[in-house]
Symmetry: C2
Subunit: 500 residues, 2 copies
């Protein structure tokens, strides 16, 4: 066997074991009875240990080096070259960290969760600050161990968005902020222009579920290769290209929640289901980065699901499903309502217009904390000052401010930017899809989502992890990541909705 | 650490990995979309390989030998002594077989399944005979490798019923047969005495499900530590003492199917949920043998669920659930109906009275085939002759005869007897429970199942695998396995029902 095939064969068990870990996680969040929790923690610990040990085995390192030598003369565009690059990326992530550091992070974050929960309940950042400081110290050590050329944040970001640099994100965010902050203010001045009260009436959850299932089936989510269940926090997971599962949750008094979360997760799932079947069981199956993954979920949720053509098709059916609540609401009013903007303090409740500002704030704070430019005791003030600067609101408490997200307590630093990168990319991809296939809006209005899905499949999904995110974006759109397309989209859509 | 504690600590990962395998199997049969099948086969293959390799590691053997030396002076009744015995039993099963034989069995049975399915469809035993002969040859090799003192079947039986000997089973079955065959004939002569037509009406499956859930909850199945789902073949599985899951299936035109299968599986689950919590994560958690497991499922299904006191409590509720079908059927008539006997050719459809005859036939044939006393080409005739002798009926085709069960094609030889042993044990345990707690029938009639469950918990469940089946039965009932209690029960119950 050739070295690259040897490497691939050697990794099959590792891939299957990590998929098994995903099955355990899915069951934990959807099906497991409460009594199973303790044993499940053990199952997850055992499977990660076994998977890790098998992956970082000396043999992997040896085969990888041989494969790298063999790949040197190869077409960079080939399956083989991509395989070697991806395995090297993952292998370095797993091997560069000293065991003592990995254990210290696991211990600290396990403890931190409880501390964060209590601090948030009490809205008391001071109670969380020492823990957060220890986590950031560990993150700094992690960055040093992983290595970086320019800024420590590069090493952390690279875990989630391979190849992306902090300087690039900072540049894109700076440009976006300069345009977005004044635009948000314009919209905020006109918030009363949109009535969304009908979304907060009572909507039977069984009817919501049936409608949502019908929607995602029509989008192209393949139920022969997936299923949808309920979970406290909606997520997508997969155990194969052909077993990609999604979850959602239903709020009886807020219609958009389950509906758009279903479309969002279906967007993630379509990406996973769309990998080339030849990638099954290889490290190249799946999404190339969290940012590109988010571009797919946001494209379906926002560009498609909150767009006019989508509701031209689905609104009559939704009205029939909920005649009491929506019988007297016309399509134009409903379209405005589902796109309502608000002065939310909470990221997960934020709309399309304000969402990225919540992310930029976190990106800037993460860098300042990591590089020691901001003292932990001053972090809430820095948070609140940025909220005032970007959104014109000041959180009345830490609970609605710096303590709102679970990420930092879990050791996820460098993760937040991918949400915003995905949002920007979603518009770049969408614009290109429409340029290539101008009929897409009309197709959607006719309930035909195949032309859009085909375009995404061909241009993005089939490749799996073959291309780095930046490479993929360049190949697909002919340009790098940028914020201008997003701002153009936002201005056009929301100027109309809010009569600016 | 002491040697026995070292052994226990060493095996924790093995136990967790085998529980993980059970999660994968549960998902496969209850939740998995069709597309996931191929990857799931890979997941299962990977997890069994990893589990096996970790278990048969030289270190296990070394620690086991040291633990055995340490256990020599110990109380045979202790946790430690039992642990060493159980691990030795499992370790020998996993290590005594040469890899080449394990692979040959896996290959042959994987191929055999398809051959059996087709042969059964075509009702053509000749098409299956060469495969079956190869499987029995492999079983003979397996018996030789595992070792036995008396008969090769001992080695196979011991996998499922540790410590049980073929000669003992043969002796018990011979006595049972002599009494059962004429009794069955007496009942067969009076089959018209019981009308069960009302059970075959249409019963809404949602209402069946709600009623069944209510029943097993009242029996004591703990939904905080388990759940019930639908599956093609009902089964019980567990991933911990505190996560024990059951499944059932609903037939719209046969009420007893889902109801009694739910009670049956709940019986298995109560055994698993009842292990002493101190056994969690050790090899001693769970049931001590398939026979004792089956005693628990049959006890709840037949002794409790098909008994008069049970329906004194539940029948009014069932009548309210299905007033059209059962409103005009009184309790006595319903009790007779759910205990109807039939001349079924098919084991899985057999009633309490005839069931054991189906098992004896298989036990005798397995021994004859294994010991070369019966040629494979003559096997269908031997089957049919026994059916005529035991049940007074001759299968009109191999499909309804020798080809009906999946077991042999899967390499399960020595498994069938445990169904009958469990049935016999169920009555022995039941009799003892009633002798100890005479109020049990009245408690059940009042809907109070706790006294019975408490007795089973204390006497059987808490011990897990601590005692060998024969040891447990002796401790609990003061006597060994025997058939007389069963025959006495059968005579009393069915003489009344059929007016003998």
């Amino acid at each position: 066997m050739e070295p690259i095939q040897q490497l691939q064969a050697h990794l099959v068990d590792v891939i299957r074991l990590s998929q098994i870990g995903a099955v355990l996680g899915w069951d934990q969040q959807t099906m497991m009875p409460p009594g199973g929790a303790e044993a499940r923690a053990e199952h997850l610990a055992t499977i990660s240990k076994v998977t890790h040990e098998m992956f970082v085995d000396d043999k992997t390192g040896r085969l990888l080096e041989e494969a790298e030598r063999a790949a040197q003369g190869m077409d960079g565009d080939s399956f083989e070259a991509a395989l070697v690059r991806v395995v090297r990326h993952d292998y370095d992530l797993e091997t560069k960290l000293p065991t003592a550091l990995v254990e210290a992070i696991a211990r600290e974050t396990a403890r931190a969760h409880e501390v964060w929960v209590k601090a948030r309940e009490a809205s008391d950042f001071a109670a969380f600050a020492p823990t957060l400081e220890r986590i950031y110290n560990l993150m700094r050590q992690k960055a040093e161990a992983l290595g970086y050329e320019d800024r420590p944040y590069d090493a952390l970001l690279d875990q989630f968005e391979p190849g992306m640099k902090t300087a690039h994100v900072a540049e894109v965010f700076a440009g976006l902020r300069d345009e977005l902050v004044p635009f948000v203010q314009q919209v905020f001045d006109r918030l009363d222009a949109v009535d969304h009260s009908m979304l907060h009436l009572h909507y039977d959850v069984d009817k919501q579920a049936a409608f949502g299932l019908d929607v995602i089936r029509k989008l192209g989510y393949d139920f022969e290769r997936g299923r949808q269940d309920k979970a406290v926090h909606p997520f997508t997971t997969n155990f194969s290209i052909n077993d990609v599962r999604i979850t959602t949750r239903y709020l009886p008094n807020f219609l958009p929640s389950a509906l758009f979360s279903s479309v969002h997760e279906a967007g993630h799932a379509l990406y996973e289901q769309g990998s080339d079947q030849r990638l099954e069981g290889t490290p190249l199956a799946g999404g190339t980065s969290l940012g590109v993954h988010e571009s797919q979920s946001r494209l379906w949720e926002n560009l498609v699901g909150r767009g006019k053509p989508f509701w031209q098709h689905f609104y009559p059916q939704l009205q029939q499903t909920f005649p009491e609540q929506l019988g007297g609401v016309d399509l134009a009013a409903f379209y405005r309502a589902i796109n309502f903007v608000s002065r939310s303090l909470i990221r997960v409740e934020a709309d399309e217009v304000t969402y990225n500002l919540h992310i930029m704030l976190r990106f800037e704070m993460e860098n300042d904390l990591l590089e020691g430019k901001l003292a932990f005791r001053d972090a809430p003030d820095a948070w609140n000052a940025r909220m005032q600067q970007y959104l014109g609101v000041t959180p009345p408490s830490d609970r609605e401010g710096i303590l709102q997200d679970v990420h930092w307590s879990s050791g996820l630093v460098g993760y937040f930017p991918t949400y915003a990168l995905g949002t920007l990319l979603s518009v770049q991809y969408w614009d290109k899809a429409l340029a290539d296939v101008p009929s897409i809006p009309d197709d959607i209005a006719a309930g035909n989502f195949a032309p859009l899905l085909d375009w995404l499949r061909t241009n993005i999904h089939v490749h799996g992890r073959k291309y780095l995110p930046a490479e993929l974006t360049q190949r697909v759109t002919g340009e790098p990541l940028q914020y201008r397309s997003f701002m153009r989209y936002l201005r056009a859509k929301y100027s109309e909705i809010y009569g600016l």
